[in-house]
């Protein structure tokens, strides 16, 4: 209905840019407006600006499901994301909740406590998402000795067009640090934290034994230097599993300007096969409702919406899950064997 209005306002905004970098879309997949209209606009953008990257930061309201039809919305939106977005950074509300709760219990961060006291709950969870965005775009906003622009992230992190979901880890998560200067240990601590489950904005474990990594980006802000990054890369490669072709798939970035209140911060992005757990959750929640056909009449009343949309949607999500599984079970082709010394050498 508003298609032309939206398009003209996008066009107006685009014309103001002398060089268009990408579109950032933010919405929740649980409600109606964000998931429905948001993904519709995503499709509009793809049709009208096919060469411009479309980054989506979307909230999966797991843990705070206050909308009953949320599973449908989530699944339908996820399908559109798989089809039309160039890069998706999903964020789970239950992960955010955990982080907020942990900080509330943490007695040390007086600053944070004061900050939380001032805010309403959703706003504080959102400030974590804001931090993610700030770090993600830091390379485009500030200078650094190893710049990472936004469009480089999708080149580096999306090996195949349908595997574009990225898990993000952030550290530090406090509002400010009382340290005067960061030293090597502290920086290393920050790096290790970004890998931990507790600092992920999704409920997945990227360094776990099940997770196979297809791509990694580490963006260090502030005091990080190239030798730090070299060590981290080596540690990361020891710690995690890769496919045979993605073992060197790492991108590093350095930005000179740290976030306000800190001397160093790091954002790590992972393209990992454990993302399928999120998709599985979405799919199983959908199927739980859909098997009973509960609430479907609301959707079917809408002109243009057909029953098979649900099934198609489940199919697309399942096939995406399958692509992840295929990679997990990928067999290396033609394994060169170690042969004993003395015999013909062929490594």
């Amino acid at each position: 209905m508003f298609e032309t209005t939206i398009l003209t306002s996008i066009k107006k905004a685009v014309e103001k840019c002398d060089s268009l970098h990408g579109f950032l879309l933010m919405f929740s997949t649980g409600g109606g407006t964000g998931s429905g209209l948001g993904t519709y606009i995503l499709k509009l953008l793809e049709d009208n600006y096919p060469n411009i990257d479309r980054f989506v930061i979307c909230v999966y309201p797991t843990g705070t499901e206050d909308v009953i039809t949320c599973p449908y919305n989530m699944a339908l939106a996820t399908k559109e994301l798989i089809k039309h977005a160039s890069c998706v950074v999903p964020v789970e509300n239950r992960a955010l909740l955990d982080i907020v709760n942990r900080q509330a219990n943490n007695k040390h961060s007086v600053d944070t406590m004061n900050f939380i006291a001032k805010c309403k709950p959703f706003q504080d969870m959102n400030s974590i998402i804001v931090n993610l965005l700030l770090n993600l775009t830091s390379g485009s906003r500030f200078s650094g000795s190893l710049n990472v622009d936004l469009n480089e992230i999708s080149t580096n992190m999306v090996p195949f067009p349908n595997l574009q979901f990225l898990a993000a880890g952030l550290s530090p998560l406090t509002v400010s640090s009382d340290l005067v200067k960061s030293n090597k240990q502290i920086r290393e601590e920050i790096f290790l934290q970004t890998l931990q489950k507790n600092n992920q904005l999704l409920k997945i474990n990227v360094t776990g034994p099940k997770s196979i990594i297809l791509g990694t980006t580490l963006i260090g802000r502030g005091d990080f230097n190239i030798s730090d990054m070299r060590t981290y890369i080596q540690r990361l490669q020891k710690k995690t599993c890769f496919t045979s072709w993605s073992a060197r798939a790492m991108k590093i970035g350095l930005c000179d300007v740290p976030p306000i209140g800190h001397h160093a911060a790091m954002l790590s992005l992972f393209n990992t096969t454990s993302m399928s757990t999120l998709l599985k959750t979405v799919n199983s929640q959908l199927m739980r409702l859909y098997n009973r056909k509960a609430h479907t009449h609301h959707y079917l009343q809408v002109p243009g919406f057909e029953d098979y949309f649900f099934e198609e949607c489940s199919e697309i999500i399942t096939s995406s899950i399958q692509s992840y599984r295929d990679i997990e079970e990928l067999k290396p082709f033609g394994i060169p064997r170690l042969t004993p010394v003395g015999s013909d050498i062929s490594l």
Partner: protein
């Protein structure tokens, strides 16, 4: 005689700026021989200024074009005592680390502007020695836009001498698409340019790290080293121009990738206190580094073949002080190189920067292929692995001197991965149990509780070897008796497995619980028996007490 530099992309601009500040510092430097020979020094300075800068009343202007598709890097350029006037950088938001994007699309935005400015710049010079392109091969702007522009340059100036300075990425973890980009860049430039000087970030990083042991390495430190090596080749020399020097090592047009080695590398902070070694020691140092330290092993040494070498010395030297005999050996060179072309020496009596003596070697040889492992190196690796096991990387690196520790680590982990997968595959195809069976951990664990009857046979080692085997690690070699025992046991086992029924083993396996492999375990020195059974650290599989053998 002038050089015009074109700096492409972030890396190109950062390295280029380092080069200019290095040259500027050199011009301003006051080392001993500058003071002693005023006339020489003034000539040198004049020549060097004219080489890199356009000298105007208002000051120096670099003969340089700064090219990028984003603006952040270039903006840092202009707080120097000299000026960069030619900045061609729209804020187009980079080239997404995508060679194709840079080559086809981003290039269109800047090409005409660049060619126009280049023409202006060329007209300003009396005589051009060389067009010098500085770029990284792995990004998008440097590699993509750079490749295209250099092609256009060749079309426009078919007879000008074009040299590239290419920074190769860190082998591990830098940019995911780096291999595509590098291959595309090198293959495009191979034909159109006269020669290419390669710098490997990994190698430069290794050298820099040794120099800055007390603090952390920054990218600017890497760039400083690159700049210093470049300046030592490119700054004015007696009687020859830069392009002549470079073309002497690339006599054959198909072999035009060159590397630079130099000595001494000193920590800048210590420079004033340290004595710079004499020429013969310096010569030895570069000679060694030119062979990537393979001297120790004659078998590998044979593998290196030179097409040409040029030695450049900077600093006071009497006529016969330098001895290049080591470089002259016939067997080191490809057979068709005539004797007079093998190694050449150019000198400059004035030192460079604050170095009284500085030697650099421009070398064209086949060690640029060193990223791959030759059969001999693989064999050597296998031998050492057998001797020391996988954990003693230091020892392995000593035994395989042509590879860095980094290379060795990466190849070992690569083969470990492969072996593990092969192992998991066979496991899952033979038994239906999960591929994550903690067999190796169990074995390691048994090694801690071995029951020794014979002191000559080291059972602990046997279990360790078994554990390593199941993990797919190459393991260390067993000693004579133990090895024999091990083999006997294996044969016995094989025989008994054939006849045995499996019920007993299943009791053991059934009682195991899946171990938590994700946590790291620490073993304390002394634990009492009951403690062990309940300690999940020491007993990750919760083996029941009656199945554990007592050590007493």
């Amino acid at each position: 005689m002038s050089n015009i530099t074109l700096q492409f992309g972030q890396c190109g601009n950062q390295v280029g700026q380092a080069l200019y500040s290095c040259v500027y510092e050199d011009i301003k430097s006051k080392n001993e021989c500058c003071v002693s020979n005023k006339r020489l020094n003034n000539e040198y300075i004049k020549e060097s200024q004219n080489m890199w800068f356009h000298v105007k009343q208002s000051g120096l202007e670099a003969r340089s074009l700064l090219i990028d598709t984003e603006q952040k890097v270039i903006h840092q350029a202009n707080n120097k005592p000299y000026k960069f006037k030619n900045v061609i950088a729209g804020s187009y938001g980079g080239s997404a680390n995508n060679w194709a994007f840079g080559y086809t699309s981003r290039c269109l935005l800047v090409a005409s502007d660049i060619m126009e400015r280049l023409r202006h710049e060329i007209e300003k010079c009396d005589f051009i020695t060389c067009l010098l392109n500085i770029l990284s091969s792995s990004g998008g702007t440097g590699s993509g836009v750079g490749s295209r522009i250099i092609e256009l340059m060749r079309e426009e100036y078919p007879s000008k001498f074009i040299t590239n300075i290419i920074v190769l990425p860190f082998q591990k973890g830098d940019i995911v698409t780096q291999n595509y980009n590098t291959l595309l860049t090198l293959s495009k430039l191979y034909d159109v340019t006269d020669n290419t000087i390669l710098f490997e970030n990994d190698k430069i990083y290794d050298i820099t790290r040794k120099l800055t042991s007390d603090r952390e390495v920054r990218l600017s430190d890497l760039n400083q080293l690159i700049a210093q090596q470049l300046a030592s080749i490119a700054q004015p020399l007696n009687d020859v121009t830069f392009s002549q020097v470079v073309s002497r090592v690339t006599t054959h047009p198909s072999y035009n990738f060159i590397q630079i080695r130099s000595a001494p590398h000193l920590n800048v902070a210590h420079l004033n206190y340290e004595l710079i070694p004499n020429w013969s020691i310096l010569t030895n140092q570069v000679f060694k580094s030119s062979k990537t330290d393979v001297l120790v092993n004659p078998r590998l040494c044979k593998k290196i073949r030179y097409i040409g070498n040029v030695v450049v010395t900077r600093g006071y030297m009497t006529s016969n002080e330098i001895d290049l005999k080591r470089f002259k050996e016939k067997s080191m060179y490809v057979s068709w190189v005539p004797e007079t072309e093998r190694v050449l020496h150019y000198g400059q009596q004035r030192g460079i920067l604050n170095y009284q003596r500085f030697i650099s070697l421009l070398t064209n040889n086949n060690s640029i292929l060193s990223g791959s492992w030759t059969d001999i190196e693989k064999q050597l690796l296998l031998e050492t692995l057998q001797k020391y096991g996988v954990n003693n990387i230091q020892k392995i690196a000593e035994a395989v001197p042509s590879k860095s520790i980094f290379d060795i680590r990466s190849i070992i982990s690569k083969y470990q991965c492969m072996a593990q997968r092969a192992m998991a595959e066979t496991c899952s195809s033979t038994a239906s149990s999960s591929s994550e069976a903690p067999v190796d951990i169990v074995l390691k664990y048994i090694a801690l509780f071995d029951y020794r009857t014979d002191k000559q046979i080291n059972l602990e080692d046997c279990y360790m070897v078994l554990s390593d085997l199941t993990k797919g690690d190459p393991s260390k070699q067993l000693e004579g008796k133990t090895a024999q025992f091990f083999h006997e046991c294996f044969t016995k086992l094989a025989r008994s497995v054939k006849e045995d029924d499996h019920s007993k083993k299943e009791v053991f396996l059934d009682s195991l619980e899946p171990a938590n492999l994700s946590t790291t375990r620490t073993y304390r020195a002394k634990v009492d028996r009951n403690g062990i059974l309940s300690d999940t650290n020491l007993n990750p599989c919760k083996v029941p007490a009656n199945l554990l053998m007592d050590k007493k």
